[in-house]
């Protein structure tokens, strides 16, 4: 028995020693902001949080702990949001249209109005992307091909009942052609499928296209005006397709978070948006920065809800 106690003690010491090596570089965890990302690491939500992280730390002196709570296209995390500590120490990333569409289709454990958004900081515009050596030089080519053979043109995208899915359906209904949407488990696999020519095109985001550089070609972006970094890529609007869409990202807090803390966090993210280093990294990556603070959120959400619900109903996602 004594021998055992000694051994277990030694083992414990060894584990602590190994752990200390890991932690020695760690700043004090005393005052920290937990930032929950509802998607796997490396995605757009994560990258945004990671770029915000040093700025938040610098502005507020708080350490930022990024946590991942993945599953069900984000629903797992959002369903758990209101059970998290509501003392202003926890924020969670939110995505539109996800938090609008998911609760409409089925019971996913939360309702859109359960989520208290404090700041919407970014828009990731949709884009139709093809490999650089694709026969489709312009969106017109793609539409013509789809007209000639209804359903034969395949377009990959991330998930079902998601932003890309909705956009692909909207694209079909606005142009009157039929393309086949093929859902993949995330943006990266959907882009890989397009680059490997498993599908003809990808309904994805400007960010994913920009990362691939000259290996891919954007046929059109779903914005009001052209991307500053890509002045040669037309918008859908210019081509007569009234499509301004993409994924909005922001942060929400648990419902019980006091009003003062909500405003404080909204102000913090507003300040992060003003940081020049942050702005450059985001726009270089193909993101569009938005400044929708806590006071503007209700009106924005109401407008988004109406337009997304209408779009979803029109294309048959909502019966």
């Amino acid at each position: 028995m004594q021998r055992f106690v000694r051994h277990s003690f030694r083992r414990t010491l060894a584990i602590i020693a190994a752990g200390t090596a890991l932690a020695s570089a760690a700043p004090a965890l005393a005052q920290s902001l937990t930032y929950v990302i509802p998607f796997p690491a490396g995605g757009e939500s994560d990258v945004t949080a990671r770029i915000q992280e040093p700025v938040i730390r610098q502005l507020s002196g708080k350490d930022v702990v990024v946590q991942y709570k993945t599953g069900a296209g984000g629903a797992t995390a959002w369903a758990s949001l209101n059970k998290l500590p509501a003392d202003g120490s926890t924020v969670m990333g939110i995505n539109l249209p996800h938090i609008i569409l998911q609760p409409i289709q089925q019971d996913v454990g939360y309702k859109t109005d359960d989520i208290v958004n404090v700041f919407i900081f970014q828009l990731t515009p949709d884009a139709i992307v093809v490999p650089a050596d694709s026969p489709f030089k312009s969106l017109k080519d793609l539409i013509a091909a789809a007209k000639a053979k209804p359903g034969a043109i395949t377009m990959s995208g991330s998930g079902t009942h998601t932003g890309p899915h909705l956009s692909a359906a909207t694209f079909n209904s606005l142009t009157g052609v039929k393309t086949t949407y093929v859902p993949f488990n995330g943006t990266a696999p959907s882009v890989a499928a397009m680059m490997g020519k498993q599908v003809d095109a990808a309904m994805t985001f400007t960010t994913a296209a920009i990362q691939q550089g000259d290996k891919v070609r954007m046929l059109a972006v779903a914005l009001d005006k052209r991307l500053a970094s890509h002045p040669d890529v037309p918008t859908f609007k210019e081509l007569g397709i009234d499509m301004v869409s993409g994924v909005y990202r922001g942060v929400a807090v648990p419902k019980a978070t006091p009003e003062a803390k909500r405003k404080e966090l909204s102000d913090l993210f507003a300040k992060v948006n003003q940081d020049s280093g942050y702005r450059k990294k985001m726009t270089d990556g193909g993101f569009v920065i938005t400044d929708i603070g806590y006071d503007k959120v209700p009106a924005f959400m109401a407008q988004q809800k109406t337009s997304f619900e209408a779009a979803a109903r029109e294309v048959g996602l909502i019966k």
């Binding site: 021998r3 990258v47 990362q211």
Partner: protein, 672 residues
């Protein structure tokens, strides 16, 4: 010149120290069930932002490769993969440890990991662009056939009863469908529970299915955890080197398989190790010794999973598409660092990339001494601990490990639930390995199949899509070979013997001959199979509510499961087939006591807090497992050990790894 400069940069003292520290920390984290390689990397990422890109990458690569190796410790010693990549290591590693060769298994795992890691990292250095092109050529249908190839392993993992193995695999595939469907968007089989909305997590299910049965059987039997027979723990390096050298073809093949599967963004370490294991078994002359402690199994699995580290970085760096979940974290870190991955990386920021690759190579080499020393330490502590302490210590690890995955109770409940079902099934002849296989390969098989179906119908070439693509054909050929080759060789063997005048029946294994003679109905197995059939029937009925694309897979698998269950019921009632051990007759009370105590522990975890609940749980489980007379001195020792262990791990998880452990409401209430 660039290469030489980068090599010199990688050899800078800070980089060497980071590689060493990363490998040590990674091995420790990887060895703890629940803490995966992905988590090890994710925990470290914030610390790397203050560093230069190259050393940051070296540190991340080192911790990643260390964690993949560390997963072998718990696989060998506790029959619980420390990371999902180590699943196939349990198949032969644990039987080796059981018979007292745990030290040899760990040393072999270390050697194999180093070789595999080197092959992977060298491929990253030399063949990155062509391998990245290969990754892109791998479409949905190829992933589907790869999953089928992985599923052929079921026959090998069924422990003598393929039909029951098939039932298990179908059950695993059904489990993989729980939650919201990527294609179709249906919410499947959650029974309205928000816990299951995100699906059954692979990591908690792994811990449950592999570890809970070990715990329950450990208290039910009088045997020690590992049979030592007076053997002492050593490095056994010379012996391991001899075995590895004799098995060099397997080592090379598994490393290459690991690299190639690592390159595929949809696969990963666990699938690489499973395929390498399957190939090692097929190519081996002593096929039947696999699963019973054949060192070749450990070599195949461990070389393949470490090869995926280098392999996985290929699409990550060349295409900006993560090869494995851990790579996704690294990719995020790179983007934040301002390193732009993708086609231009190797030209524009070549010095960072090559310094990283050399750093990864160095870290892999450092894994040899680090792994040997830490491995011996882990082995010695497991064999030094008496059973009365080992049982609660392992139980505590399963609880805190599954809690740490996402920092909530859901995974603990899933872990314990799957563990109980797995234990019950394994007592009636349904081994856990096929269930895990189904759970891991399910999403790959389903998404690949339905995507290929959609693309094939859209282009009007369904048959060509499924059967006539070159890479698919190659995978199909290997799968067919894996399935049919053993039967074919066995038949030839039988023919040869029959030709020699011997009675063919004599060549059949003795056990099955005995079973044919005895023909005792196995009512227990029949009842379990009937229950599973009911589950399958329910799943089939429930699938009516799903969308077309969301229901293809549930219907197919549900029907297959129903048929296989029916077959098992008939065979069990007729008394043909292998007889299952059934519930432990003498010590059922002790087993149930353990289950009850653990359930109570988990039930009060949130309210009582991790510390209080776990200390109490530790002592309760120690009492369940203890077979000696309880003296005051022993009770004090249990309590003291419980408090020390629980406090140490709570510190490790809570403070160093940043997991929010439940503080509980009782303790603060009592104090105020």
């Amino acid at each position: 010149m660039l290469l030489l400069d980068s090599l010199i940069a990688a050899l800078a003292p800070t980089n060497l120290l980071l590689a060493l520290g990363g490998v040590i920390a990674g091995t420790v984290v990887g060895a703890l069930p629940g803490l995966t390689a992905t988590m090890a990397v994710a925990v470290l990422v914030p610390f790397t932002f203050a560093m230069q890109p190259a050393p940051a990458l070296v540190l991340l690569g080192a911790i990643y490769t260390g964690a993949i190796y560390g997963g072998a410790y718990s696989a060998v010693l506790l029959n619980t993969p420390g990371t999902p990549s180590a699943i196939a290591t349990t198949f032969d590693g644990f039987p080796m440890a059981k018979r007292g060769d745990g030290d040899l298994a760990i040393t072999l795992a270390c050697l194999a990991s180093v070789v595999g890691g080197l092959v992977g990292a060298l491929s990253l250095l030399l063949f990155a662009p062509p391998l990245a092109d290969f990754a892109l050529a791998f479409g949905p249908i190829e992933y589907f056939w790869l999953a089928v190839l992985g599923l052929t392993l079921v026959a090998a993992l069924s422990e003598g009863d393929s039909l029951k193995g098939l039932v298990g695999a179908c059950a695993g595939l059904m489990l993989s469908m729980v939650g919201s469907a990527v294609i179709g968007g249906d919410i499947r089989y959650t029974m309205g529970s928000s816990i299951l909305l995100g699906g059954i997590g692979v990591v908690p299910a792994l811990i449950g299915l592999f570890c809970i049965p070990v715990l329950i059987d450990l208290v039910a039997s009088r045997d020690e955890h590992l049979e030592l027979d007076g053997k002492v723990a050593g490095f056994r390096l010379r012996e391991a080197l001899r075995i590895a050298l004799a098995d060099k073809v397997n080592l090379a093949r598994s490393s290459v398989i690991g690299t190639i599967i690592g390159v595929l963004p949809g696969a990963g370490g666990s699938i690489a190790a499973l395929v390498a294991y399957s190939e090692a078994r097929r190519a081996s002359k002593s096929r039947d010794s696999f699963g019973r402690g054949n060192p070749s199994g450990v070599i195949a699995s461990e070389s393949a999973n470490n090869a995926t580290v280098g392999g996985g970085f290929i699409p990550t760096l060349v295409l900006g598409i993560p090869g494995t979940p851990a790579d996704a974290v690294v990719l995020g870190a790179l983007l934040v660092q301002g390193v732009k991955t993708g086609p231009s990386l190797f030209n524009e920021q070549g010095s960072i990339v090559y310094t990283f690759i050399f750093g990864l190579l160095i870290a892999t080499v450092l894994m040899l001494p680090v792994g040997l020393v830490l491995g011996r330490y882990a082995y010695r502590s497991i064999i030094a601990v008496p059973k009365a302490m080992l049982v609660p210590a392992i139980a505590f690890l399963t609880v805190i490990g599954s809690y740490a995955i996402q920092g909530n109770m859901d995974d603990v409940i899933v872990m314990f639930g799957t563990g109980l079902i797995g234990w019950l099934m394994s007592r009636f002849g349904f081994p856990p390995a096929p269930i895990v296989l189904g759970l891991i390969l399910g999403p790959l098989a389903e998404q690949g199949f339905v995507q290929a179906w959609m693309i094939g119908s859209a282009t009007g070439n369904l048959v060509g899509m499924f059967f006539f693509r070159p890479i698919s054909l190659a995978i199909m050929a290997v799968a067919a070979l894996t399935l049919l080759y053993p039967t074919w060789t066995r038949r030839r063997e039988r023919q040869r013997l029959a030709g020699g005048g011997a009675d063919a029946a004599n060549t059949a294994p003795a056990a099955s001959t005995a079973a044919t003679v005895a023909r005792v109905p196995d009512h227990g197995a029949a009842v379990v199979a009937a229950l599973l059939a009911a589950v399958a029937a329910f799943a089939l009925w429930y699938a009516n509510a799903f969308s077309m694309f969301g229901s293809v897979f549930p219907r197919t698998i549900g029907a297959a499961m129903l048929l296989a269950c029916f077959g098992v019921v008939v065979r069990s009632l007729r008394g043909s087939g292998k007889r299952s051990p059934g519930l432990p007759p003498h010590d059922l009370a002790r087993s149930l006591l353990l289950v009850g105590a653990m359930a109570l522990w988990i039930a009060v975890l949130d309210d009582a807090g991790m510390l209080l609940a776990s200390c109490a749980g530790f002592v309760a489980l120690a009492l369940c497992a203890d077979r000696e007379r309880l003296t005051a001195r022993r009770l004090v020792a249990f309590c003291a050990a419980g408090i020390v262990l629980v406090a140490a791990f709570a510190l490790l998880f809570g403070r160093l790894l940043g997991v929010r452990l439940p503080a509980g409401s009782i303790m603060p209430a009592l104090l105020s």
